[in-house]
């Protein structure tokens, strides 16, 4: 007892010292952690925080002279009817590419997950899926132009060779086909990314759950909706936001394929912002637009994370 009691006393008496020593030790650890983080935080400040603050500052100043103009650039940006044309075009583009890429990517992931068992075949599919993602968007735009261009486009040539059409289809000159052409490039490049994400998600579904469901006679759809979908739910949100952010950034292939035309049919928000910034050189209005896009995305993300459950049931 004594011993025990003594130990207890010792332990109690030693505790403040250890806490003191421990406190010092933790401080050193913290200092080390901060020292390690400092270059990263510094880089983030230089490449993210400073430009962001600079853009906000720019949006409150006149393009000519740099005088403080309050929210005038925001008002001027919102009054411009071309902004709403660009928003409309972005909405149509997103309405085409997002569902197509998510459904096709998910379908492919399920198909491969359920039917392809060979590790080599899976590796080959992984490599094939990676190729479009790593090609620079400019190169993708040039390749797409060779497919759709008037006069020498491969697609028209093949269609005419097969007797499907008698005369060239001006893919990039008509409102409907131009939007489809630029969307098809996005779908080609980014469906594999969606496939890879969902395929990785499907690998996390426990084998026992699937085996048990199969024993119970679950159908393919039940298996997907009751067993696999809950594991994919957080990934849906990630894919959705990643792709929405990409749709807002998309530029290269549209610039090369149509230059935003015909008229302003394919002038998406990013192309419009580029024009305001680098053709009109209205840096104040361009900064105001950029800040508004950033705020809208942040609000959308906050709303979606509240509405869509991130965790599995």
């Amino acid at each position: 007892m004594e011993s025990a009691s003594g130990s207890g006393l010792q332990a109690e008496s030693a505790s403040p010292d250890r806490r003191k020593r421990g406190h010092g030790f933790e401080s050193r650890q913290e200092r080390l952690a901060y020292a390690i983080l400092l270059p990263v935080l510094g880089t983030v400040f230089v490449v993210v925080t400073y430009p962001l603050l600079f853009a906000v500052g720019q949006s409150l100043r006149a393009t000519r002279g740099g005088d403080f103009v309050g929210l005038q650039n925001y008002a001027s940006a919102l009054e411009n009817p071309l902004l709403y044309d660009a928003l409309g075009a972005t909405g149509i583009y997103a309405g085409i590419v997002l569902p197509t890429e998510i459904l096709a990517g998910l379908g492919l992931a399920l198909l491969v997950h359920r039917t392809v068992r060979s590790p080599r075949a899976r590796l080959a599919l992984y490599v094939f899926a990676t190729i479009p993602i790593v090609i620079p968007p400019v190169a993708v735009g040039v390749i797409a132009r060779l497919i759709y261009a008037p006069g020498y486009g491969v697609l028209n040539h093949l269609l005419m060779l097969a007797g499907v059409v008698q005369a060239e289809i001006p893919w990039l000159s008509r409102r409907d086909t131009a939007m489809l052409a630029v969307s098809s490039v996005d779908v080609w490049q980014w469906t594999p990314f969606v496939y890879l994400v969902f395929f990785a998600g499907l690998q996390t579904v426990p084998r026992e759950s699937i085996d048990a469901a199969q024993v119970d006679g679950a159908t393919g759809w039940t298996m997907f909706s009751r067993i696999e979908l809950p594991y994919l739910r957080p990934l849906f949100l990630m894919v959705l936001f990643w792709r929405i952010a990409d749709v807002l950034r998309v530029f290269d292939h549209i610039f090369i394929l149509t230059g935003g035309g015909p008229g302003s049919t394919t002038q998406l928000l990013s192309v419009y912002l580029y024009r305001v910034a680098f053709k009109f050189f209205d840096t104040g209005e361009a900064a105001a637009l950029a800040v508004m896009v950033m705020l809208a995305m942040s609000l959308l993300y906050a709303a979606a994370t509240r509405l869509l459950p991130l965790e599995r049931d």
Binding site: P150, S173, Q267, F280
Partner: protein, 431 residues
């Protein structure tokens, strides 16, 4: 020993200070220095690249030519100048950029700073296009009080001209004849009667302006009032998007200069407008063309106004104010525009502006467009409106013209919309 160390440090500091002094004065650049030139990628910089090794050999100055695609070059230059960075010692600039660069006072005057004088062998219009504020035509309100200075010298004497298949018909004298010939030779699928360079923004505007001026229309009047929706301008728009489109290949809304020249080079087009760079690069290039010797080059045909207007598209060499090698850069401009070097420059594919070279029979044999270019310069081609808002105006006009060419709006709607947007832009810019 300590004394030696101290003396060595003192000598080192003195040498460095002297070097810095010489470098800042521009004197050291004459020997063993480097000039960084921002240039446009493409045929327009062929001549410059060809004579660069000559300059290095003769003067010991290395030329670092940084090439960028057309739209990137403009953005790069504007952002570099805004930052006041001494990145480039010399810049190649398209003449419609002069109003922006002149208004912002980003360039060093070549006349008052380096004593540049006019040369009688170089057409006057070359000096006029390099002068800011503009010596003729409307002057932007903010520029009226500024003294005129020569800010750039043409290194590529580009003027937009006209090309046609001379083996099939005589040269058209008017736009009416252009349309008549186009209807005669148009065979859908095998030969286009006329190629409209109709891609959105800059391309379609470049194709349209000579027609607009020849029809008596314009973008602005002498007082910067927008007149693109005037009856004469509307007639020109209809001529392009209805008459000429009717004899053009499908997909005109996406055809740019390279597509137009390719169609001409493979014998699938009868006529179109043309820039000199397309002639050397594609139409008269034996490696790619099937129509060598079959294409005629002439100044722009006349319109209902009775006159044809070519369009200036000169590329100038200018010295940014931030350059630390101004003296050496000026010496290079003098050298590269000299008669002796211009001949070598032209032989290497460069587009000269000297009358003696453009009218030289031997040079004309090798470059069949030289005589047309000389005549176009002599006739004093029009330049695009001299306002620093031109890029924005061109974007608005080019988007609306492209829309009406694609049938998304009527010519009346397109001109009205373009005029409204341009008026709002110019008002905001203080015009």
């Amino acid at each position: 020993m300590k004394r030696w160390v101290g003396l060595s440090i003192l000598t080192g500091v003195a040498v460095l200070a002297l070097a810095a002094l010489l470098a800042s004065s521009g004197l050291v650049a004459a020997q063993g220095a480097k000039l960084v030139i921002a240039a446009v990628a493409g045929n327009e910089s062929l001549g410059l690249k060809a004579v660069a090794p000559m300059y290095e050999r003769e003067h010991g100055v290395k030329l670092d030519i940084v090439e960028m695609p057309y739209p990137t070059l403009y953005e790069k230059l504007v952002t570099t100048f805004q930052a006041g960075a001494p990145t480039y010692d010399l810049v190649m600039l398209d003449d419609p950029w002069m109003p922006k660069f002149g208004t912002e006072e980003w360039l060093t005057p070549l006349d008052s700073t380096y004593g540049f004088k006019r040369d009688r062998d170089i057409p006057n219009v070359i000096y006029e296009v390099g002068t800011w504020p503009p010596p003729r035509g409307p002057v932007p309100p903010s520029e009226k009080a500024k003294p005129k200075h020569l800010l750039g010298i043409t290194v590529v004497g580009n003027v937009e001209m006209f090309m046609y298949r001379k083996d099939l018909s005589p040269a058209p004298k008017s736009w009416d004849e252009v349309l008549t010939n186009a209807k005669k030779f148009n065979k859908p699928g095998s030969m286009a009667g006329y190629v409209v360079r109709g891609a959105a923004t800059n391309p379609i505007v470049a194709d349209f302006l000579p027609i607009l001026w020849s029809f008596g229309g314009d973008v602005f009047d002498a007082n910067w009032n927008v007149v693109i929706d005037s009856p004469a301008s509307l007639r020109a728009v209809k001529f392009l998007v209805q008459d000429l489109k009717g004899v053009a290949p499908s997909g005109s809304e996406n055809i740019d200069a390279a597509d137009r020249s390719r169609l001409m080079a493979i014998g699938q087009a009868y006529q179109s407008t043309v820039w000199p760079g397309e002639v050397t690069g594609i139409v008269e290039n034996p490696k790619v063309s099937k129509v060598i010797g079959k294409v005629g080059f002439i100044p722009m045909p006349a319109g209902p106004s009775g006159k044809g207007y070519g369009m200036m598209g000169n590329w100038l060499l200018a010295i940014p104010k931030a350059s630390k090698n101004g003296g050496a850069a000026a010496a290079f401009i003098t050298w590269v525009t000299s008669p002796k070097v211009q001949k070598t420059y032209a032989e290497a594919g460069g587009i000269p502006a000297r009358k003696s070279i453009l009218n030289d029979p031997a040079m004309n044999k090798a470059n069949p467009y030289f005589s047309a270019l000389a005549k176009s310069l002599e006739a004093v081609p029009n330049w695009r409106p001299r306002t620093d808002q031109w890029n924005a105006v061109e974007t608005i006009l080019g988007t609306n013209l492209n829309a009406t060419l694609a049938g998304l709006s009527t010519p009346e709607e397109a001109t009205k919309k373009a005029a409204t947007e341009i008026r709002a832009l110019m008002k905001k810019a203080g015009y």
